[in-house]
Symmetry: C2
């Protein structure tokens, strides 16, 4: 158990944006939401998975929908506690902790904000080890664990409880409702038991994000290369360096879909990279060949600062470095690849682990 | 209290199709669903509003969505009891009776089917006195009564509980979810108290439907004019006679929208009538002038049999009589007209009661 400071929250938000692979929302929004709750209700507490016991009941708060309207809807607060209380009426056992569903600029921070508000600790784990655009793409699905019942709520007093036969239906209903709620809604997923948290989640992911964020911050303070610090911390791979020459984006079913096109520079001069996204970056295509794909992480970083650039902030002219980071081992099983691999998103290619594709070209696995 | 026979169910379904004004679904489907429940669980019981006491708790089962897929989804059953049980978990007081939300070929029959299944009586009342295409267009809304919580369910085991700040949000969420459920879902609305039933519903509407259905059946048996029997029973008005020459229909947001165009015959020769619908018939336009509108009832009847033709069954070449029937007095208040009058549906005309428009042309008010 450890109490988190405002600096810790900053690091977690910044690192989560890197692991959020373009999605998961603006880390600045996430950080502000968590800071505001800290100011008002006290600091959140982080506990390790090894501190969880079988009788624990860990709920999963999140925001669902398109990240763009989130900026207008800030601050998060009432809708989140509304969703929590709507769910609580359903539960027989008291909730003992909260946990993120995914690691992203906003959804990493939402449980930290709720932790302050409820005085309950946050478990250092999540259900993706990254961000994904669909709610059923969670490690729980791999183990046959449904997230139902889930409550969704807004700040007006509307709430919805979803009990679905699987996590696919949950995603389907949540997405439609998020659009009706005004493009985004706060949600809280049903409690996992301590045992389910131990067995079926990605462990240590909040502190992993925090280490990445700290590496960026310390590199910047020391006027060192933030990108190199991230690659070192994540044992990641440089995929490309260049300038954004075009960004196509459209909103569909509550997702931001599109692609960014990069013109290479330095060692990549004369080459072209396309990064396709559905909230999150899905594939990186260099000169017409896929060089990285889900479930591995593809993140576009600001070349100077090392900060992750989320999908909604991609702009013409940005100088960027695209990096690849290994996904959690749960995603590299046949079931994991079937659930969240390139074919799920419509790319008819086999998944090849990023270190096999790029292992020779950059930082070796440590 | 009276026990309903299969013949009663037939009459209620047939009469409900007349009061359903084109919407509310195929009365044959509704009748079959209720008959099947009667066969399996025993006959439903009908009680009058005067038999309701304050401590009664009356839930409102219904189908929401597009009537066309209902035909494929038949028989109704499991989804309805699933929705009922999902709601029941929320309730502190036991449910004592059920009641229709609207009068239509299917939604009149759904509570009768659930009545058989649960062994609880159906109240002879509803929340519209007709059918309307949007869930907030209920007399409860006029009295500030929310229908939340509402449960929606399907036969797969998916269920959703909606708690909304008003009946407009309830409609919005229900419609999206119905589409996700596969274009139609079963729902159960929160219990009304006995007092709310007495004060804020349309009384006697199931037995009104039954009388209309019986009039059609008896006219047919006596080889008499079914249309005349309906006009007599409802103190209604003949609007037009003719042949359907065109039907335009499209599905949008789960509604069947469009219009039927009729070429006049007999006293209407040389004239043209357009009936516009959104599931239910909204306005009748004769030679470019509105001659009847919501909230009054506009129903297209088979000229030979007197049966109501629902929106999804309108076909080129049918010989029909279009009739107008007075809506319940609750809809004729300023609040009622504002909620469900022509302007709500985008027709920039004032509501004029049908007897003022057509009072001189047909059966006088009895």
């Amino acid at each position: 158990m450890r109490t988190l400071t405002p600096a810790d929250l900053h690091d977690i938000a910044a690192g989560s944006a890197v692991l959020g692979t373009g999605g998961g929302g603006d880390p600045y929004i996430g950080e502000l939401a968590a800071l505001r709750s800290l100011d008002e209700f006290g600091p959140p507490r982080l506990i390790g998975v090894d501190e969880i016991v079988d009788t624990d009941r860990v709920v999963i708060p999140f925001m669902v929908g398109s990240p763009v309207p989130l900026i207008e809807k800030f601050p998060l607060g009432k809708e989140l506690t509304n969703a929590y209380h709507a769910l609580s009426r359903f539960l027989s056992d008291p909730v003992t902790a909260v946990m993120p569903v995914e690691i992203g600029g906003v959804n990493s921070m939402v449980p930290l904000s709720l932790s302050s508000r409820l005085g309950k600790p946050v478990v250092d784990a999540d259900c993706m080890g990254r961000a994904f655009p669909e709610g059923q793409l969670i490690t729980l699905t791999l183990d046959g664990i449904g997230m139902s019942p889930v409550s969704l709520a807004d700040e007006r007093g509307n709430s919805v409880i979803l009990e679905t036969c699987d996590n696919f239906w949950l995603e389907r209903f949540s997405r439609s409702l998020a659009i009706d709620f005004g493009a985004i809604a706060a949600g809280v997923g049903a409690p996992l038991t301590g045992r389910q948290v131990r067995e079926s989640t990605v462990h240590g992911s909040l502190s992993y994000a925090e280490r990445i964020g700290r590496a960026i911050r310390e590199a910047r303070a020391a006027k060192q290369d933030g990108v190199a610090a991230i690659l070192s911390e994540t044992r990641g791979f440089e995929i490309f360096r260049g300038k954004i020459t075009d960004v196509q984006r459209r909103i569909e079913r509550g997702w931001t879909l599109g692609e960014a096109i990069l013109e290479g520079s330095e060692g990549y001069a004369g080459s072209r990279l396309v990064v396709r996204f559905q909230n999150e970056n899905l594939v990186a295509i260099r000169d017409d060949a896929i060089v990285a794909s889900v479930p591995d992480l593809i993140t576009i970083l600001d070349a100077d600062l090392g900060d992750a650039i989320t999908t909604e902030h991609l702009r013409y002219g940005y100088r960027v470095v695209v990096v690849g980071i290994r996904c959690d081992a749960k995603w590299r099983t046949p079931a994991g690849i079937a659930l969240a691999g390139p074919r799920h998103f419509g790319y008819e290619v086999d998944y090849v682990p990023i270190e096999q594709r790029l292992g020779g070209s950059a930082t070796p696995p440590g």
